[in-house]
């Protein structure tokens, strides 16, 4: 189990889960928030020192009202790594978190050892539509975000208590603030991806209906030396749907290609 801690950064508090031993892994969650990804983190914590923040405005973190977009978020996390004195960090990002990892890496890889991008947002592949998480009902989104039948339990867990409902509303607000327009991408990101000079692994669910696998293939083209691993019977919410497989792929990549 990761330990819940708070760190003070730029005058606001960030909820930062920490645990495990070994090389540092920063896990950046997706637009649905951290909720439900503990098994994946626990698996990673067996081999690495895991740091898993709630993004500003998500979960139990303060709102950081000055953060308007994902580039702002990326600078905040670069500041966090500097503040904590961390080096050689393996940055793992899922969805929105993958986009954030990319925005960090094009700005500075000085403290970054490798990148693991799981179903990352951030770019747009013309002519390949993604699902719109904001127009869906919660049930429709839950069905779309899983390949298998875990969606019902996951959907129910999000709003099981009034406090969780409140967090779901906060997460949704902050996701809109960061992702609404242009939807889930930064038009300027693509032209700077050549700056990424660290080993990069892209993980994608074969059945991702939120961000289709074509996005993974395109990212592989854009990032020099990046490898792409497709996970069968996996939807967009990979860290929740396949926590052990997700953790195993990260472990394998870090040991074999990014140690």
């Amino acid at each position: 189990m990761l330990e819940e801690t708070f760190v003070e950064l730029r005058g606001a508090k960030l909820n930062l889960r920490r645990g495990g031993k070994g090389a540092p892994v920063l896990f950046l969650h997706g637009a649905q928030g951290y909720a439900g990804s503990d098994p994946a983190m626990d698996a990673l914590a067996q081999d690495f020192t895991v740091l898993a923040p709630d993004h500003p405005g998500f979960g139990h973190s303060d709102a950081f009202d000055w953060i308007d977009d994902v580039p702002d978020l990326a600078f905040l996390y670069l500041d966090l790594l500097a503040m904590l004195g961390l080096e050689d960090v393996h940055v793992v990002g899922h969805g929105l978190g993958g986009w954030t990892a990319l925005e960090m890496a094009i700005r500075s890889t000085a403290r970054i050892k490798s990148l693991i991008l799981a179903a990352a947002a951030g770019i747009r592949v013309p002519g390949v539509p993604r699902a719109d998480m904001f127009i869906c009902t919660p049930e429709e989104l839950a069905r779309l975000i899983f390949a298998g039948d875990g969606w019902q339990a996951w959907n129910a867990s999000l709003t099981a208590t009034p406090e969780l409902q409140e967090i779901a509303d906060r997460n949704r607000f902050q996701a809109a603030k960061l992702c609404w327009q242009p939807r889930l991408f930064n038009p300027k990101l693509e032209k700077w991806l050549h700056r990424i000079d660290r080993p990069t692994r892209i993980l994608w669910g074969e059945d991702d209906r939120i961000i289709p696998p074509a996005y993974g293939a395109r990212l592989k083209e854009l990032i020099a030396g990046a490898g792409l691993v497709m996970l069968p019977r996996t939807g967009h919410l990979m860290p929740v749907e396949q926590p052990q497989r997700f953790a195993a792929e990260i472990r394998r990549f870090i040991r074999e290609d990014a140690a």
Binding site: E166, D169, F173, K177, W180, Q181
Partner: protein, 396 residues
């Protein structure tokens, strides 16, 4: 009291089976459902109805803005206001409203409003709204900044109308090097500002601020909500802002249908008013309230009092009349209800929605004429003398 005829200009030829394939007639309903030839007929009929209302002695005629839907065919109410400005002489022309904050450059609207005001010699009423939630999908505007952009766009437009240009505007969402609107509005310092809403504490606090004192109009609501929000405006002015609001600062908008008897009115209105709520206003919760459109507090309140959708169950005319959303019946019935509501609430502005959904031209014209002859004079004569004042219970 000022009484205005309010038109939504619905696409009356909507294929009512659309729900077999699409969940709503907003944003996702293909525009192939719109037939331009039928649209030509409708636009011209609706403009005739607005012009007729001006001739019949309404104090004003009113249009509004909605996008990508069959409920209201006026993505630009400016076009309609412009058409009406040269065909009417005395009636106010109320654009209720335009969503200034949805625009990347709100001054295009400020310019157009000023043009209408100058052309009409000061007959414009400018409505400022945030747009309904669905519009944040069709416009691509980020709902997380909805309140902030609305307020900043307002500040920009008011400055542009009142402060000598050119000047630079330095906001958080809007930055313009040259603000220098030609023409300036005819009315000084600027046209009256109205804020129509479905009920929002934030909007009331903002609109009632002593620096603004804008007209708040409660739209399409059960009478219980009309009571709550119109009294809230007066209470907010008194307690938060420390002044007594004038009755001219509040208004109510409601659909109305009249015939010579209650039974006949109900029979004639039934398919049309039920279509309005069951076919034209079928918005899923996610489209009505995208994230940030409501404050966290308002969202909490909304979850406490409402089912998470206004879609779904079929609304009947009986329920609409019972809750006071729809005023329907003989002229006596409807006049009595309005006079009683005025006695309780004291609103000095009323927007009569006398055409709705599929209500055809002949019934609309009869509705307009009956209202103008049998109800309008009684309403126009109502002043603060007939207002009972806020009940002591309502002030606590």
């Amino acid at each position: 009291m000022n009484v205005l005829f309010f038109h939504l200009m619905p696409y009356a030829y909507l294929d009512m089976n659309y729900q077999e394939k699409y969940r709503t007639d907003w944003v996702v309903l293909p525009n192939t459902y719109f037939d331009p030839v039928k649209g030509h007929e409708l636009y011209n009929r609706y403009l005739d109805e607005l012009e007729l209302a001006a001739e019949l002695g309404f104090d004003g005629i009113s249009v509004n803005e909605h996008h990508q839907n069959a409920y209201g065919l006026m993505p630009s109410p400016i076009v309609m206001a412009a058409a009406l400005s040269r065909r009417t002489q005395n009636a106010k022309i109320a654009i209720l409203g335009n969503a200034f904050g949805l625009r990347e450059h709100p001054l295009t609207l400020a310019e157009e409003h000023a043009m209408i005001d100058v052309i009409t010699g000061g007959r414009l009423i400018s409505g400022m709204v945030r747009g309904i939630g669905a519009e944040y999908f069709s416009f691509g505007a980020n709902p997380a900044f909805s309140h902030a952009r609305f307020q900043e766009a307002h500040d920009l437009v008011i400055e542009a109308w009142t402060k000598p240009g050119p000047f630079a505007f330095e906001g958080r969402h809007y930055h313009f090097e040259y603000v220098n609107v030609w023409p300036r509005p005819y009315q000084q310092p600027h046209p009256p500002i109205w804020c129509p809403s479905l009920g929002s504490t934030e909007t009331i606090e903002w609109a009632s601020h002593p620096a603004r004192r804008y007209v708040y109009v409660q739209n399409f609501s059960p009478i219980a909500a009309v009571v709550r929000y119109l009294n809230l405006y007066r209470q907010t002015a008194e307690r938060l802002h420390g002044y007594t609001a004038r009755s001219e600062q509040i208004g109510w908008a409601a659909p109305i249908y009249l015939a010579d008897s209650d039974e006949r009115a109900i029979a004639e209105a039934r398919p049309h008013i039920e279509a309005l709520f069951n076919k034209y206003l079928t918005l899923p919760f996610e489209m009505l309230f995208p994230p940030g459109y409501l404050s966290q507090q308002s969202l909490r309140n909304m979850r406490a009092v409402r089912r998470p959708s206004i879609q779904g169950g079929k609304v009947t005319i009986e329920a609409l009349i019972e809750t006071g959303i729809f005023l329907c019946g003989s002229p006596d019935t409807v006049r009595d209800k309005l006079v009683a509501a005025h006695r309780a609430l004291g609103f000095q502005n009323f927007l009569a929605v006398l055409q709705f959904a599929t209500l055809p031209g002949d019934l609309t014209e009869r509705n307009l004429r009956l209202f103008a002859r049998e109800v309008l004079p009684a309403l126009q004569g109502l002043t603060d003398k007939e207002y009972a004042g806020m009940e002591p219970a309502a002030t606590h």
